[in-house]
Symmetry: C2
Subunit: 208 residues, 2 copies
């Protein structure tokens, strides 16, 4: 016998920025963790830089606070080693995520969204390649055997550009201040270090 809760698939929202190091750790793991937990992933790309601007910051805190930035690069190397995720420290940081974010928003409900986001982030954080241009993003789409030109055109429509601005405004209104941020059953979880707790909450294993 199933009750109403059990018959609906539990969900986790991942709010992420494709240029954010700690988003990389979660983007690489979430599909696998969620599948094993039978939880559906809702992909919510947004532009963290716009949130930082709203705080009066003109760059990432990892650039503005040099001690925190220096630590982050050590921590990322260790975390990638621990979680078996490929890692090369990017020679440019942060990379420009707007075009890739537009594609991710356009494809947020498509079956290729997870693979696309992993592809973009592997370029940046495993292969030290740019992600900013149509050529960069096309490479990722082509590797997935997707119609790159069609997708890029749709992603760069005025309507989709507006949607990305609205999604970022929505992130701000939800109180998001960093990435990745997860929402499960109305509870907010900030940071890759909370992904497992957020999945457990979605499965109903924790009270949130």
């Amino acid at each position: 016998m199933q009750d109403a809760m059990e018959s609906s698939v539990p969900e986790i929202e991942i709010w992420f920025d494709l240029a954010s190091p700690y988003s990389y750790l979660s983007v690489m793991r979430i599909d696998d963790l969620a599948e094993r937990a039978r939880v559906a992933v809702r992909w919510r790309p947004f532009l963290l830089g716009a949130i930082f601007k709203s705080f009066g910051w003109d760059n990432s805190p990892f650039v503005l606070q040099k001690e925190k930035g220096a630590y982050m690069w050590q921590d990322m190397a260790r975390q990638c080693r621990k979680q078996n995720i490929p890692w090369t420290r990017p020679s440019t940081f942060p990379r420009h995520p707007v075009l890739a974010a537009r594609v991710a928003l356009y494809g947020a409900d498509a079956p290729w969204i997870g693979a696309f986001c992993r592809g973009v982030m592997l370029r940046n954080f495993a292969h030290d390649q740019d992600i900013a241009t149509e050529a960069d993003v096309s490479d990722v789409l082509n590797a997935l055997v997707l119609p790159a030109a069609t997708i890029l055109a749709a992603a760069q429509s005025d309507e989709n550009k507006s949607r990305l601005r609205e999604q970022t405004d929505r992130a701000k209104s939800l109180g998001i201040f960093g990435a990745p941020t997860f929402f499960v059953r109305g509870e907010m979880y900030w940071g890759n270090d909370r992904l497992d707790d957020a999945i457990a909450c979605a499965r109903g294993l924790a009270s949130g």
Copy 2:
């Protein structure tokens, strides 16, 4: 047969501020975790507020960034529940840690250091009581059957006050930007979320 590494007791340094919420989570756990791992704890109290001032901030980021502060209180409640640590959201934040930090520095190598720090932090984060005054700190010392007046006098000597300033300068020079921060084998680990990794590193179980 023992080699030189095995015959020396591995160590973990905990750099912490007695008014810092995430320091509370680690201060409450570290003696137990370290004992089970046969790792020695080196207690390094410092004043995080002075580090923040060096960044140009006149208060905790949990106060200056209201979104981050709002999230932190939710996260602390959840983390305490998960780790079985008592929790009451303090009605005043941040509380004034200077006197308690002077005592902690004075007693850093004494057998009562862990119990003293837990006592101070439980006042703040479990019982919502002040920690700033001689009466507050005496309560903690008295509960441990320690000579409060003698310890308070020594802690407030000019020499010990200078040592706390020097310890905080040392934190700054080590690149510490938040608390708790752990050092093990020269590796820096920031945040309560890294305590287990830091202990594993001290035991030689991780490459750091």
